[in-house]
Amino acid sequence: MRKISPRLCVLLALAAGAFGFLPMAHAADALPQVRLNADKIAPRPIEELTGNNIVRDYSLAWQSLAEAMDQNRAELLDAYFTGFAKDRFSSTVADQKKNGLRTRYIDHGHNVQAFFYSPNGDAMQLRDTAQLEIQLFDGSKMIRQENVTLHYLVIMTPGADRWEVRSLEAVPNF
């Protein structure tokens, strides 16, 4: 039997990965894409570094929310949610767990407009237009699946080393 060279093994593995033969990361694990526009922010301008941090932390917040709702693990919310937002999503996760439900978010990206940055830099408000695929499961049975564009009004506040989501409220429109 002919042996396959190690180099060919690597190439095959890469090709398999590219064509999806290898187990892919779960959708909830992927970092959601966030595009930030802060052109009309007031009353305080946003520093470039702050803008980058907002993008990073808001994206990580959505990633952790998706994982928490899919795996029914409220502790995943600890890193990027605070205040009533954390309380509410934790409560949803607890209810899901109790009722044998779970929600899967497949995130297709967020167009975020930062429009309020408090004068002392202790709160920022964002408008997020999110493209999401939402799947509701009862046990292993999917009871609802939808592709939606949702509008979220967001309040983020700075924590020790990151921005945290303090309020994430879906609204009918802006």
Binding site: N99, L136, R144, V171
Partner: protein, 288 residues
């Protein structure tokens, strides 16, 4: 014959299933937080009702043909809800939004906690308006900010919230002391205190007196430009320049004045500074 019975059987099954089918859900487009409502259903048979909201996820058995009662406790969190009814032949769902009820709480941020007097836009206040369920009230709400200080006229300013937030900035007054900053909306009132502290020293003046081998230097009472005494502990720098070089003594204000003892070294020029303020110069050894 067999074919006819088969078709008949299919038709009967279809009619029976139709009886158990959940019709499209009729839900209100918007509900004010904490309000109950009913979702009418048609058909017959048992079904599962799911209600997924921003702070809850419930599941219960319902009887098709009867209205599904959504309790006020189930609609307390503002945001998007998904109602789904699943019967034996599938699921139907609809979404609706819950909006905040009237203002009930203010989240009030005031900065800084200590501020120098007579400084432009030094005090900023931001108020977030929430309903009794801690939902951000997105309808415009009037918020009145007031800053009051003992023996000084009150300053008031009204702002209207935009997306649940109102803010203002104002100058600190010329008088030191505790300023009370309040935000109110209707009968909701939140208070914060800002300590207005004297600003930098102003019109610094020193006197120098030779006493044997030393020169005793003392400031007049140190005050800011508004006449408020600069607090004890504030550092005043006293510098002596002679032919032999320069000597600087940093000394804290005690009981309103700063004092230093410098070595006598012939003709000298002594000056004083504190922070960004520079005071007078005196000459000793020759003519003052």
């Amino acid at each position: 014959m067999t074919r006819t019975f088969g078709f008949l059987g299919f038709m009967i099954a279809a009619v029976l299933l139709r009886g158990a089918q959940a019709a499209d859900l009729q839900v209100p487009k918007q509900v004010v937080a904490g309000n109950a409502f009913s979702i009418p259903t048609s058909g017959s048979g048992e079904a599962s009702f799911y209600l997924q909201g921003p702070g809850s996820a419930s599941k219960r058995k319902v009887q098709l043909g009867n209205a599904i009662e959504v309790a006020e406790e189930e609609t307390r969190d503002a945001g998007r809800y998904i109602a789904t009814v699943c019967s034996s032949d599938g699921c139907n769902g609809a979404d609706f939004f819950v909006t905040a009820s009237g203002p009930a709480h203010l989240s009030f941020l005031v900065h800084p906690s200590r501020v120098p007097v007579a400084t432009n836009d030094a005090i900023t206040a931001t108020a977030f308006v929430f309903d009794k369920f801690h939902n951000l009230v997105l309808q415009p709400v009037k918020v009145e900010f007031r800053v009051s200080l003992k023996d000084a006229p009150e300053v008031a300013r009204a702002e209207t919230t935009s997306n649940g937030v109102a803010w203002m900035s104002m100058n600190s007054s010329h008088k030191g002391g505790l300023a009370q900053v309040t935000a109110s909306s209707g009968d909701i009132l939140e208070k914060r205190v800002v300590q207005q502290v004297p600003s930098d020293a102003c019109n610094l003046r020193i006197r120098a007196v030779r006493t044997g081998k030393f020169i005793n230097v003392e400031t007049d009472p140190v005050r800011d430009c508004s006449g408020n005494p600069v607090p004890d502990g504030t550092i005043v720098s006293i510098t002596q320049v002679t032919d032999k070089g320069k000597t600087t003594v940093d000394t804290p204000i005690k009981r309103g004045v700063a004092k230093a003892q410098l070595p006598e070294a012939g003709n000298a020029t002594i000056s004083v500074a504190s922070g960004v303020a520079i005071g007078n110069e005196v000459r000793v050894g020759g003519a003052q």
